[in-house]
């Protein structure tokens, strides 16, 4: 595992790499010319050091356009490459937080750190990073114009079926698997962090809460993940956790796609736990060994909730089929040790059983208006529209 012949470190051409290859890598990476080849010996540009010059070159490559939106720690602008206005990007400019006294914001550090390492078709691509004169960091990201998965299920003009859900969920599962393979926890998986590219690809974005989980003995904060998507172990205050937290969130997103409604909405952390227990039953030492040792665990009061029967799932998630329901329930297992890993999720037969996931070009799209509707009419018949499950859920939680 640590070293197989295939993985022989010598087959990594790092030390032996050619200068040309290196230069290319640099150009691709930060879109700045390589310091190894750019005649660094003529530092003529005023008092700028080499790194400042490289940064300047990167910055000049992009043109910032209209404001697209504002998040908690950044403002996102449309943008494009200066030399080619058809190559669109999104420029995420980190806001200055006056209350944070320790320099560059941690969200920015985390997002940059992990996006620099993770290169995968279902993870948002980081083209470059630069800092502006006023020392604000800007991330140049892949342009993802078709909204996000939450907008998609909320948009009643968009109709979709089981094969489409399978395609979206599969892209999500691949992204999560890849993160975990790289020992990265995302810790904020939810519909509106799953952006949609022009070609229909789903991309996991917003790595501002991500961290490595290589060291199982270092405690972590339990105060992560947006509440509706937060797994029970974090609500109970677990400080040692792993990939299972993301798998739970992924399960909730999967459920929402099917329901077209929030699956586990609540107003407070306490209420979140009771909403979860209403569906999955209150955990005990028998159903989840070790749960009683978690900081905020309280033994079930009388009468304690019992898990909902299969019928509950069939009534709401029929659109997923029996194997889809089985997968969903396995992702939403209360005990994180028994919850599926991202690898096991991908190995589930749901993905290969009929129906085949929709090709990404054919997926229904957000915001396409009449065009989307038109395309939708051409779609194969027999697809279940998931509005029915939606009403049931509303009755349950409303």
């Amino acid at each position: 595992m640590a070293l197989s012949p295939m993985d022989s470190p010598r087959s990594v051409p790092g030390p032996a790499k050619t200068l040309a290859a290196k230069t290319k890598a640099l150009a691709v990476q930060n879109a700045a010319s390589s310091p190894l080849s750019s005649g660094a010996s003529t530092p003529t540009e005023g008092t700028m050091d080499l790194a400042e010059q490289m940064n300047d070159q990167t910055r000049k490559q992009f043109v910032t356009g209209a404001r697209l939106g504002e998040g908690t720690y950044a403002i996102v602008y449309a943008g494009h490459y200066r030399h080619d206005p058809t190559r669109l990007v999104a420029i995420k400019k980190i806001k200055v937080n006056a209350d944070y006294k320790d320099g560059v914001a941690m969200d920015a550090i985390r997002e940059i750190k992990y996006l620099q390492e993770l290169s995968h078709p279902n993870i948002i691509k980081l083209h470059a990073v630069f800092s502006t004169k006023d020392q604000n960091l800007s991330l140049v990201l892949e342009h993802l114009p078709l909204g996000d998965l939450e907008q998609l299920w909320k948009n009643k003009d968009v109709r979709y079926g089981g094969a489409d859900i399978k395609a979206w969920a599969c892209m999500l599962a691949r992204a999560v698997w890849f993160c975990h393979k790289n020992f990265v926890l995302h810790r904020d998986i939810k519909g509106n962090n799953l952006l949609i590219a022009a070609d229909g690809n789903v991309k996991l974005a917003d790595f501002g809460l991500a961290r490595s989980f290589a060291d199982p003995f270092r405690p972590m904060t339990y105060n992560v993940i947006t509440r509706f998507y937060r797994p029970p172990e974090l609500l109970y205050g677990a400080r040692y956790y792993g990939g299972a937290v993301d798998v739970w969130s992924m399960g909730v997103v999967f459920a929402e796609l099917a329901l077209r409604e929030f699956f586990l909405p609540s107003e407070t952390d306490i209420q979140q736990l009771s909403v979860i227990c209403d569906v999955f039953g209150t955990p005990t030492e028998e159903t989840w060994p070790g749960v009683s040792k978690l900081e905020f665990y309280t033994p079930p009061s009388n009468p304690s909730s019992r898990p909902q029967p299969l019928q509950f799932w069939r009534a709401r998630f029929g659109i997923l089929g029996d194997d889809g329901i089985e997968l969903l329930r396995a992702m939403l297992t209360m005990d994180p040790k028994r919850r599926l890993t991202a690898q096991q999720v991908l190995e589930h037969r749901y993905w290969t059983n009929a129906p085949r996931p929709t090709e990404k070009e054919d997926l229904p799209k957000n915001g396409g208006g009449a065009k989307v509707m038109g395309e939708d009419l051409k779609r194969r018949g027999g697809e279940i529209e998931s509005g029915r499950a939606d009403k049931v859920a509303r009755k349950l939680f409303g």
Partner: protein, 419 residues
């Protein structure tokens, strides 16, 4: 869905931006040095011209913060002596060693220290100590490493661990460092690989090893072979009890681990080799027959008939040589030499560094001395809110003098004061 460690490493920024051949590394350092010298030269010229103008008008006020000492005595201009690449390296390496002590003092996790040292080394691949004061950069590098490794520490608390140091001073170079790091924060260390390899060897020793199919040896066969491993390569077979074998594996791990925490992070190993190559080389130094056996289980038998195996071995031999070149592993550092000799050597080294620091003081880039001021100037230019009140300017000048003096005293073996 097969996704090998090799592929993971190839995608990493460490591989893409921070891996070099020895020649590339040397060439880049020469370039950086040359660029820095030219910059300081230009700045010195500018300053001398300015001074001449000032001496005509009688103004002495703006002399503060000059790195190039006033060497124009009675109009005779002495040529400035600049640091060579080798001297720059000595200074940076000295600072890196200081960071290990600093990490112990603050009880930072090993990853934080190792990452901070790589940040420092990466920073000085594209910058010269003549441009940016290495002591300030090193302190800030390790602070940044605390952030990137998710080890919570406030700038204020950290600064309080040093004499007369403010959070502002710690944070001032952060952007410079982040830029020089080319916005990559992830450093791949060999620690986890070593742990994994160690666990694998332990499993093999207990008859639970798994060799690739092509290799064709059973777990029991591997265990049996292991129990007869010679003490030295080419030495006689040496029958061990399972307990003796287990303790031998643990001893090797401990030694390799200590090499990873010193020689591996203080040499250029991270620039030149992959994390697996580094931990394997350290393990080779710790116990060659054991490591050779472990490697042999990864290739079809006999391994020497595999070109990949031979290539790997050659690489490991070079890496091992590099690690052994570090003074922490030099023979004179072991029991052979007396305490006095060691002390004499340390003193000699300290004197050598002292002389370099003195030399550095005469060839610094005067534009880049006060990083706090520089940082503020950058921000100020950006927001166009121009003027600083007299009071602030005065306070800043005092701060500047304060930390210049303190920087002078730092260079000894002195450590930050206890919190």
């Amino acid at each position: 869905m097969r996704y090998t460690e090799d592929e993971v490493y190839r995608a990493s920024s460490q591989f893409r931006l921070w891996s070099f051949t020895a020649e590339q590394l040397a060439a880049q350092r020469a370039e950086t040095n040359k660029a820095a010298v030219e910059r300081v030269k230009a700045a010195v010229h500018r300053q001398r011209a300015q001074r001449q103008k000032e001496s005509v008008t009688g103004s002495e006020s703006e002399r503060n913060g000059s790195g190039v000492d006033n060497q124009a005595v009675n109009g005779v201009q002495k040529e400035v002596e600049y640091l060579t690449v080798a001297e720059e390296q000595k200074i940076v390496n000295h600072l890196a060693e200081t960071l290990i002590k600093l990490g112990e003092h603050f009880r930072f996790p090993v990853e934080v220290v190792a990452t901070g040292i790589q940040f420092l080394k990466r920073f000085y691949l594209y910058n010269s100590p003549m441009t940016y004061e290495p002591q300030l950069i090193s302190r800030s590098s390790i602070f940044l490493a605390n952030k990137t490794e998710n080890h919570h520490l406030t700038a204020e608390k950290y600064a309080a661990g040093f004499p007369k140091t403010t959070a502002e001073q710690i944070l001032a170079p952060e952007y410079l460092i982040i830029q020089a790091l080319r916005f990559t924060f992830d450093v791949r260390h060999p620690f986890r690989g070593l742990k994994g390899g160690h666990m694998e060897m332990m499993a093999m020793a207990q008859g639970q090893g798994i060799a690739p199919e092509a290799h064709g040896r059973t777990a029991a066969e591997m265990q049996a072979e292991m129990l007869y491993l010679p003490v030295r390569v080419g030495g006689a077979q040496n029958r061990m009890t399972p307990e003796e074998l287990a303790s031998r594996i643990t001893t090797a791990y401990t030694k390799a681990s200590s090499i990873l925490k010193h020689a591996a992070i203080l040499t250029d190993a991270y620039f030149l080799y992959t994390p697996s190559q580094i931990w394997l080389s350290a393990h080779l130094i710790a116990d060659e027959p054991l490591t050779a056996f472990y490697l042999s289980t990864k290739f079809p038998s006999p391994p020497t008939s595999s070109p990949q195996y031979n290539k790997l071995l050659t690489t490991l031999t070079f890496c091992k040589k590099l690690l052994l070149s570090h003074h922490s592993l030099s023979p004179s550092n072991s029991s052979a030499s007396s305490e006095d000799e060691m002390k004499a050597k340390e003193a000699e080294q300290a004197a050598g560094i002292g002389a370099l620091i003195k030399k550095l003081r005469h060839c610094r880039d005067p534009d880049k001395i006060d990083l706090v001021k520089l940082n503020k100037a950058v921000k100020r230019d950006a927001v166009q809110d121009g003027q600083l009140e007299e009071q602030k300017a005065k306070r800043r000048k005092m701060e500047r003098e304060g930390f210049k003096k303190e920087a002078d005293s730092f260079w000894g073996p002195e450590l930050p004061k206890k919190e």
